[in-house]
Symmetry: C2
Amino acid sequence: MTVTVVGSVAFDSLETPFGRRERILGGAATHFSISASMFTDVRVVGVVGDDFGADELERFHAKGIDTTDVERVAGARSFFWEGRYDNDMQVAQTIETQLNVFADFDPKLSDASRNASMVFLANIQPDLQRGVQEQCGGARITGLDSMNYWIESARESLLRTLSGVDVVMLNDAEVRMLTGEANLKTAAAQLRGHGPRVLVIKQGSYGACMCTEEGFFFVPGMPLDRVVDPTGAGDAFAGGFFGYLDSHADDPFEESSLRRAAAYGSVMASFAIEDFGSERLERLTHAEVVERCTEFQRLTAFEHLAARERVTAR
Amino acid sequence: MTVTVVGSVAFDSLETPFGRRERILGGAATHFSISASMFTDVRVVGVVGDDFGADELERFHAKGIDTTDVERVAGARSFFWEGRYDNDMQVAQTIETQLNVFADFDPKLSDASRNASMVFLANIQPDLQRGVQEQCGGARITGLDSMNYWIESARESLLRTLSGVDVVMLNDAEVRMLTGEANLKTAAAQLRGHGPRVLVIKQGSYGACMCTEEGFFFVPGMPLDRVVDPTGAGDAFAGGFFGYLDSHADDPFEESSLRRAAAYGSVMASFAIEDFGSERLERLTHAEVVERCTEFQRLTAFEHLAARERVTAR
């Protein structure tokens, strides 16, 4: 079983209340693949410049991630993003974006990547996502992420692309922007009406909710002592979600499997933000994953006595 | 068993995307008492003008709520608030506030109100809250709500008051404002350090979280087809929370009791916002309360297999 992820592999410079890091390993496909690698085999499809060296590749290989389809463009530089988070850690302020090799990204999938059991289209131009998706007809599940930029500039293409995938992951503002609906229940029904069976709505520090044919499922944000760097939390969620489904679910569309996948997604996102870049996920252990999943379960568990007692007075 | 609530009893004029209502029954103590009356006996302490007539009082009496301590000031008018909600239904825009009789509110408690088993101090000036709390030394649990206005204008008094109650209910912005802490875990620990054993952090449409000595407990917002009027949702939550504890909990500080109370609080808040003012709560049935509590439980339930299977690949 293998998950293929297509998206950005990049360098990030970050400033948060906890410090500053220059040109650390970043990019959506990076965060996704390191997260998913906790659960299953991963192949990453992306493009880098010759500033991306053996040390960076080794970080992937140490997690068993196959980088055969990471194209390297000589004489060019990798995608670079510089951002800053203020005290509330909710919204990243972009200081600088250099697309570099990413401007002409044309994902090239080997047969092995094309034949993966699951495929995740991280946030790239929707036409490119659709091109990849059409090459991966045998995948058990396909999913995508997107962003406000594509909703504004390529809305029709995005709707066409998402109508062909199984799982759509967006944040709540993006869901409202794409549907024009303020009510989340109505918006979710409208989006699922385009085709995807599963919608995951990311809600930042509040957690995430999933909408399937059986209704809504919520996972709260884990209260943490320190949120050091929220970059890549959504990609780490997606990595845990697809990684779990790929490795454990006989029927990945079964409600109980999807709920566990969302829980493991939240587990991975909660770890991801505890340190800069992917540093926390790279040193994560099996025991820590299991323990935090138990903590997540406890965050919302209550015993409902109403069935056996009269709750109301009148 | 009786819960006493002290706070505003008022008229509200409201405009939401679902319509407009003129001078309907409102006020924090109103929403609280109608909600709590589903579970236990309630006494309301407040002040109204002579525009507040027999029809309004009958709405309370129909729910078994004792209004003996609702003082009526002749020749004066009741507290009036006019507000508007835009499409996102998140924040109320105040059009007009007329304090009227509420400007000189001096809560007068009968022995019966003073001797209640639980007391809730809805959002009023913190000195007044403390005055009431000091009269109710025998209550099993006392709780309070407040708002940004008092945090800014009467911070020290509010901290003194909350140090003497058991349960503090604030929204997340208020918790951050009061503590100066962006991190919710740190802020919650700091606030509980002032004395209250239980902190309930209201998170608007995202739901609510409770912090006790055993950690955090989250209840999500129920996705609803129509959110007609969010006014009073927090007071309806508080009413369900204290009403449930008063009627059902042998030890109201037991974690399982507190969690169920927070769940019933969320149930009542979710109904409250389905119609204008307190209309939905006034026609609520026992069966509806029980059914929605089950729905809440289902919103977050997942089976965690990690204990008996190896989750991670490496």
